[in-house]
Amino acid sequence: MVKLTIDDQIVEVPEGTTILEAAEKLNIYIPTLCHHESLTSYGGCRLCVVEITQNGVTDLTSSCTYKVEEGVKVKTTTERVKRVRRLVLELLLAEAPEAQIVQDLAKEMGVTIPERFKPRRDDLCILCGRCIRACRELVGVNAIDFAERGYSKKVAAPFYKSSPDCIACGVCVYICPTGAITMQEVEKGEKARIPEGEEVTGPARIINNWKVGLAMKRCKKCGEVIAPEFQLDYLRKKVNLPEDHFDICLSCRE
């Protein structure tokens, strides 16, 4: 166990715990955007910075990546910390002014778009990378990654083409903090177009961002829609199930 102080409160946590997790134990709130408890830490948004003092040296660090060390003194709301958080929110607010979570956090901290910035309204993505990590770490598919660098950085399927690996599971959609990834269920008989791609006839599911449209598998008995066929194939192969395993839906199986 490691003992440390956060905002003058002493807390003891197992080795390997991050400052963010330790603070949660004390009910101390630290804002985050790129962090998600089911994913590895990234340290990209810099909202969760805290001030740490160790061996007489004080520095700022991201609390989601910093593993606790014995005797470390942490301050979560100093002026220095607030300055960085405010700047991050100013910058993000101008980048994705329509993102609800950014608006909420900005309001919380009393931040508005600086007069000198020209806001862009074409994208909700704040490049936190949660979708990429979820696809890699939770789903194990690796359908998407960052492309380009710096200000041109984007999340995309390889070569900006339709992802050949995406199983349209939708985890990226659910884990995105700003709602930048959209999914569309195409009902039976309806027609819809995959972005920059062909037209599909429902039942199908489209993940717009990765330019993927997958046909849905239907129950051989009752005809109900189960899930995208490609996704079921992926799962079946991954856990080594018989080829006809998903032919019949759960209700018909009982």
Binding site: Y42, G43, G44, C45, R46, V49, L60, T61, S62, T65, Y66, K67, R80, R83, V84, L87, V88, L91, L92, A94, E95, P114, R116, F117, I126, L127, D145, F146, E148, R149, G150, Y151, S152, K153
Partner: protein
């Protein structure tokens, strides 16, 4: 090879190659030389030698530092000092060889070298013992050229003196004897303590104590440790590492072998950018030769120590010079930095303890072993020991690569070594530490250059870039230039760096275009300070430096742009106008002929005029007017 005896044999072979019994012609064939036309000179020499059936040896060598004078050609005639011709062209080769045949050298010699220093074993070899003609003794010796007078070549000890593609010449200069000494001593702790006592600090940027880093890594748990040489040099106008890689690749290999033995690593990587094809080629040939000689591989010099070294080519991202991003790149991942801790010395490449040092640091290691920590300690200042290589560029007469003891003043570097500012202009500032360094103004010209003093002045040592600026440089424009570079090179992982640098650059764009507003300076300052604090890695943490130092030292220039809508240095196009002073214009018509816009009119021998609506402010007229009649306001 398995013993010192074998090494001595190679040394003898190398001495014969360095100082052959017949005339030797050497051409500086580093990238700087080749860019100036050394390849053509090289071919011309071969053709001429063949045509004249001359019995001479023709050899390549690395960069000797005076890049502005390239291509350099050296003649080593037994019984004569080594003499150097500068700015050689294929046409000039014939003249030089004529002189050689007739026994009378051409008089356009730049300098001579009477003796060659063998730094590692403290010897000097005189080139000449015989009587030599007076016109040769009247040529200035290298060490009395202002460019070389105050230099002390440690990391660059062999560059421009040996053939980088011949291991024997490196050995002749004392190479691989430090390795032998270390392996025979058999005590890694002793090596670490010697490096610690030398107080060598990393030459890559941050200046961390090398010995301490090695010790942490040696003491870290886990086997399978790694060594990395960071050769991802990417600062605009900086080429310290390239020169060592191209001119003396074995010095890095030997340094890494010693480091590997000290920390207990058996595998090392040299991470070089793909944009350095010649460096990679020379390094590869050096690795092959070291392997053939048994200096790399298993049971090196019969000591039981195994070490493998591999080149890893980077795709040229500036951020991959940051150690955690570099490690990601070697692992085959996206070149993005990771937060520290954990530090690489504890958990680095593939999660194993890893020491990562820069090219120049590795090149210093064999010298410290050979000459001792005390010798190294004798150079430099109290907290910055040894020498530092700088790439001296910009508005300075002698552009080149210089190595000086730490603590030398900026004045000595700029005015003595650099020969001052060209075209009678005035010195304004010097940017140290690459794009994320800072601009140091004229009134700090006597600043002693070391890690701490540069930091105190708001800049950094960085890897050793040094860009001299004259009074026709706009400091707001300079800050914008560096930020544009850094915006482009930011990996984009963290928000302050990815978006913050861009926003700062946009503000500077506005200011230099006459759209600056009251409050911009304060906002820039605040944003710069916060980006420095909040960014994830060294790139973002230092990126605001050019803005902060120019704001600190040249605030009046920012104010002139914002309030007066004028650029005092006459650089920012939207804020300047060109006109002709009728008093000084002689009506020669030169400006009229060079103007691409036909914006200049006037009768011959009568004062000319610029029609400002047609003028695109290209500055062509200004450059050609010899009467100073073109006025920028």
């Amino acid at each position: 090879m398995s013993s010192v005896k074998d090494l001595e044999r190679l040394k003898a072979e190398g001495m014969n190659s360095l100082f052959p019994s017949k005339t030797k012609i050497m051409v500086g064939m580093a990238t700087c030389g080749q860019a100036a036309g050394a390849q053509e000179v090289w071919q011309a020499i071969h053709q001429e030698v063949k045509r004249r059936k001359l019995d001479v040896v023709v050899k390549k060598t690395g960069c000797i530092g005076l890049c502005q004078h390239e291509p350099l050609l050296d003649i080593l005639k037994p019984g004569y000092p080594r003499i150097t011709y500068d700015r050689v062209t294929p046409e000039k080769v014939s003249e030089v060889l004529d002189g050689l045949v007739k026994g009378k050298f051409k008089k356009s010699i730049m300098a001579r070298i009477d003796h060659e220093e063998f730094l590692l074993d403290d010897t000097r070899t005189r080139y000449s013992k015989d009587k030599i003609p007076a016109y040769i003794t009247s040529i200035v010796p290298y060490n009395r050229l202002p460019f070389y007078k105050k230099q002390k070549r440690v990391a660059l000890r062999n560059c421009g003196f040996i053939d980088p593609e011949n291991i024997a010449e490196y050995v002749a200069k004392g190479g691989y004897f430090s390795l032998t000494q270390v392996l025979r001593g058999g005590k890694p702790e002793k090596v670490i303590s010697q490096i610690k006592r030398s107080k060598l600090r990393g030459r890559g940027g941050a200046g961390f104590l090398t010995g301490v880093k090695w010790e942490v890594c040696r003491n870290a748990d886990g086997d399978g440790k790694y060594l990395i040489c960071n050769a991802d040099e990417g600062d605009p106008g900086a080429y310290m590492d390239r020169s060592i890689l191209e001119g003396d690749p074995h010095s890095i290999i030997e340094g890494m072998l010693i480091g590997g033995f000290a920390i207990g690593a058996n595998q090392g990587y040299i991470y070089v950018r793909e944009e350095y094809p010649l460096a990679i080629e020379r390094l590869q040939s050096a690795l092959t030769q070291a392997q053939e000689e048994g200096l790399l591989g298993e049971n090196i010099l019969d000591s039981g120590f195994d070490f493998e070294l591999e080149i890893c080519r980077g795709a040229g991202a500036f951020v991959c010079g940051e150690e955690t991003a570099l490690i990601q790149s070697i692992e085959g991942n996206w070149g993005e930095p990771k937060p520290r801790p954990p530090f690489p010395a504890v958990s680095g490449l593939w999660g194993k303890p890893t020491v990562i040092n820069n090219v120049e640091t590795w090149a210093n290691v064999p010298v410290i072993i050979a000459k001792g920590a005390n010798w190294f300690n004798g150079l430099g200042t109290s907290r910055s020991k040894g020498t530092k290589v700088f790439s001296l560029v910009g508005k300075v007469n002698n552009i080149g690569l210089v190595e000086v003891p730490m603590g030398i003043s900026l004045r000595e570097i700029v005015y003595e070594i650099g020969g001052g500012i060209p075209n009678g202009r005035k010195f304004k500032a010097v940017q140290t530490g690459g794009p994320s360094g800072g601009c140091i103004p004229k009134n700090l010209i006597d600043l002693p250059v070391d890690f701490d003093q540069l930091k105190k002045a708001g800049s950094i040592m960085g890897s050793g870039g040094m860009i001299v600026m004259d009074d026709r440089t706009c400091m707001v424009d300079v800050a914008k230039y560096f930020l544009t570079f850094l915006e482009d090179e930011s990996c984009g992982k963290c928000v302050p760096c990815r978006v913050g640098i861009r926003r700062m650059r946009e503000l500077l764009e506005d200011i230099t275009s006459g759209r600056g507003r009251e409050g911009d300076i304060e906002y820039l300052q605040q944003m710069a300070e916060t980006i420095k604090e909040g960014s994830l890695c060294g790139l973002g943490k230092t990126a605001p430096n050019p803005v902060l130092t120019t704001l600190h030292y040249f605030r009046d220039e920012y104010e002139a742009h914002i309030r007066g809508k004028r650029c005092p240095a006459g650089v920012c196009k939207p804020l300047i106008t060109y006109s002709i002073n009728p008093e000084t214009c002689t009506g020669c018509g030169v400006c009229l002929r060079v103007c691409p816009q036909e914006a200049i009119s006037g009768k011959k021998k009568k004062p000319h005029k610029i029609t400002s609506s047609k003028c695109i402010k290209c500055g062509a007229c200004f450059e050609v007017c010899t009467f100073g009649a073109i006025v920028i306001t």
